[in-house]
């Protein structure tokens, strides 16, 4: 049994991603899912190594949740196959996986403790209750009615439910969507500990920071397809060069001087993506653009998504 608690003995290095000497724990080959005439998943191929945190990144409607639910066995694929430990998913699959859904409800009139106990009892292998409580920081709300807990507390309870059977493979479907930044970071810490305990995690998200912070390997999904696959650093390196100069104010197109780089308006800021930062900065100074609050940063997955699809990850 693997503990989720942050003890030295339990600290395992993150997995290599992709395949490992033991072979992938989870594979999807040519996965297709149609809902009548709509193709939600359009030929996905994946191989996830044991101990990896695999991120499925994409905007709302990209097909992430559908793809995950086909892999979990909740939806039947229209075509393609899913292999768990090299074989089709058998009856033992459900005993060895944990799932946190994007949206679900809890049984009413039960306390947090009773809910956890109930879900633990559905499995043959169980994470000790005190460990589960400590790992997801549920001590203070244990005797509270499910209906009386906050959004962040609910997400922690859902996570604990996903860990109730000490799973080998954990699916987290947008676990931090709708949470405030502080609660989100709190959950990231917990997920990071689970990852360090050697568990394989499949995480869907549309938060770039989440994917960069937690995932060893990322697949970027758009319109039901995987359009890029690799480690976050590999992907950025493969598709993007240079840096991004960020101005914290919008600069209208008629006041944008001709300098090396591509101008982009993103929400209420302006970004210039350039291979020659020095030349771009000189151009800005020469054009007397207000440089207050200017920052320079390395390109990230969000830039990559924009580069690959021409659209923002989060509109």
């Amino acid at each position: 049994m693997t503990s989720f608690l942050p003890a030295k003995d339990h600290h395992l290095p993150p997995g290599p991603g992709g395949t490992s000497p033991e072979g992938p724990i989870l594979e999807a080959n040519g996965l297709v899912k149609n809902f009548r005439e709509i193709r939600a998943v359009d030929g996905i191929d994946l191989a996830i190594g044991p101990g990896t945190c695999f991120g499925l990144l994409g905007p709302n409607g990209a097909g992430k949740t559908t793809a995950i639910e086909v892999i979990e066995g909740i939806l039947a694929p229209t075509a393609g196959k899913v292999l768990y430990k090299g074989a089709p998913r058998g009856p033992g699959f459900r005993q060895e996986i944990g799932i946190q859904f994007q949206r679900t409800e809890l049984p009413q009139f039960l306390s947090v403790r009773e809910t956890l106990a109930m879900f633990r009892n559905l499995y043959d292998r169980r994470t000790p209750l005190p460990e589960l409580i400590a790992a997801c920081r549920l001590e203070e709300i244990l005797d509270r009615d499910n209906r009386m807990i906050s959004g962040g507390q609910r997400q922690r309870l859902f996570l604990a439910m996903a860990l109730a059977n000490d799973p080998e493979l954990i699916f987290l479907d947008e676990p931090t969507t709708g949470l405030d930044p502080q609660t989100r970071r709190y959950l990231w810490e917990i997920i990071d500990r689970i990852k360090k305990a050697g568990k394989t995690i499949v995480l869907t998200t549309h938060y770039i920071e989440e994917a960069q912070l937690l995932c060893d390997q990322v697949a970027i999904m758009d319109r039901g397809r995987i359009i890029a696959l690799g480690t976050p650093a590999e992907l950025v390196e493969r598709y993007l060069t240079g840096a991004a100069i960020v101005l914290p104010v919008p600069v209208p197109p008629d006041r944008q001087p001709a300098i090396p780089g591509r101008w982009r308006q993103r929400q209420n800021r302006t970004e210039i993506h350039t291979d020659d930062v020095a030349a771009s900065l000189r151009g800005l100074l020469a054009a007397e653009v207000d440089l207050s609050g200017l920052t320079v940063r390395a390109p990230n997955l969000e830039d990559l998504f924009l580069q690959l699809t021409g659209r923002e990850l989060r509109p």
Binding site: P91, R94, I97, E105, F109, E114, N121, L122
Partner: protein
């Protein structure tokens, strides 16, 4: 396997117990019905006919046609004096009265379309041969309230089983609780068995409480064995829960499920002899009632409680309920889906 079944059943029992409004209503509803009927029938409740008497003079109080004299003593007729003939005849036309008599002249009026009026006319004016004397009942009589009580218990079970399972499973499906359970090792039949066990425990406990309370308050007697009664309610409850699972097998719309449950529950409530006997109903109505599980529960419970019947006499009722339960369970399991369609 059994651990999973019991875990889900226990959680459902806790949910029911803590939902105080549902629990309270389940116990209070049958009490209210019995209390209401007990008040309505207080003081005898033997009035069968209402007779308007013209001239504000009751038979026997003055010169009266001889055929009306016995009306005063008739315990089943309520006599209402009227000063105006028009007012009395209006009452007759609107079915508030079964017959209007004028004691002075000996004339009477009735609505020929009214079965009650015609019956009363016959009672008053048909002479029986002297040898045709009424014989006393050999068995102890059962009051309407005692006759009604098993029906009310069974009806309460029906509502609790159909809505407590059907509605709740649909809600679980709608809000994703079923989806969450579907990714655990729980199999559909384990979930369905847990629903049956939990609801059956709830049904028997609440029916037992209402039975004990009403029996104490109103002095109802059970002439047969309590164990036989429990058996009738247990098999009947099982059958009704299985019927609720059929309703809940696919839908994720509470409105649709409610409509379907009403469509099943309301005809059963009216045609399973909960409130009145179908003795005089048309044959096809009685035939339809034989397809309703509630009919067999009500009859079985009445046989035990009112007539003192034993297992041997109940065998067809129990068999019918068991067969229907198996059929409903098979259909419910076949149609069951964890997720929204």
């Amino acid at each position: 396997m059994w651990n999973r079944i019991w875990t889900i059943a226990k959680a459902r029992i806790i949910e029911f117990y803590r939902d105080r409004s549902a629990l309270g209503w389940n116990l209070l509803f049958p009490f209210l019905i019995i209390a209401g009927f007990s008040t309505m029938f207080a003081g005898g409740g033997n009035t069968l006919f209402t007779v308007g008497v013209l001239g504000a003079k009751l038979p026997g109080a003055g010169p009266v046609a001889p055929q009306y004299r016995n009306l005063r003593e008739a315990p089943t007729a309520k006599l209402v004096p009227f000063a105006s003939r028009k007012e009395a005849l209006d009452g007759l036309a609107r079915h508030r009265l079964d017959l209007v008599i004028d004691p002075g002249s000996g004339r009477y009026w009735l609505d020929r379309a009214s079965a009650r009026g015609r019956t009363l006319e016959r009672l008053l004016f048909t002479r029986m041969p002297a040898a045709t004397a009424g014989q006393p009942l050999s068995m102890p009589p059962v009051s309407y309230l005692e006759w009604l009580f098993p029906g009310v218990l069974a009806m309460n079970m029906m509502f609790s089983a159909l809505y407590g399972v059907g509605y709740v499973v649909v809600r679980y499906r709608k809000n994703g609780v079923l989806k969450r359970l579907s990714v655990t090792p729980t199999r559909p039949w384990e979930f369905l068995t847990a629903q049956i066990i939990s609801r059956l425990i709830v049904l028997l406990a609440s029916t037992g409480t209402v039975f004990a309370g009403c029996s104490l308050l109103y002095g109802f007697k059970t002439r047969g064995s309590y164990l036989d009664l429990v058996l009738v309610f247990a098999v009947g409850g099982f059958c009704l829960i299985a019927l609720g699972l059929v309703v809940a097998s696919r839908s994720s719309s509470e409105e649709f499920a409610e409509g379907l449950l009403n469509l099943i529950a309301l005809p059963m409530m009216f045609l399973s002899e909960v409130w009145f006997s179908l003795e005089g109903a048309r044959p096809w109505v009685r035939q339809i009632s034989r397809f309703f599980p509630l009919t067999y529960i009500v009859e079985g419970a009445r046989m035990v409680m009112n007539e003192g019947a034993g297992l041997f006499e109940l065998k067809y009722h129990l068999l019918a309920l068991a067969l229907m339960a198996v059929l409903f369970l098979a259909v419910g399991s076949k149609l069951f889906t964890w997720q929204r369609e």
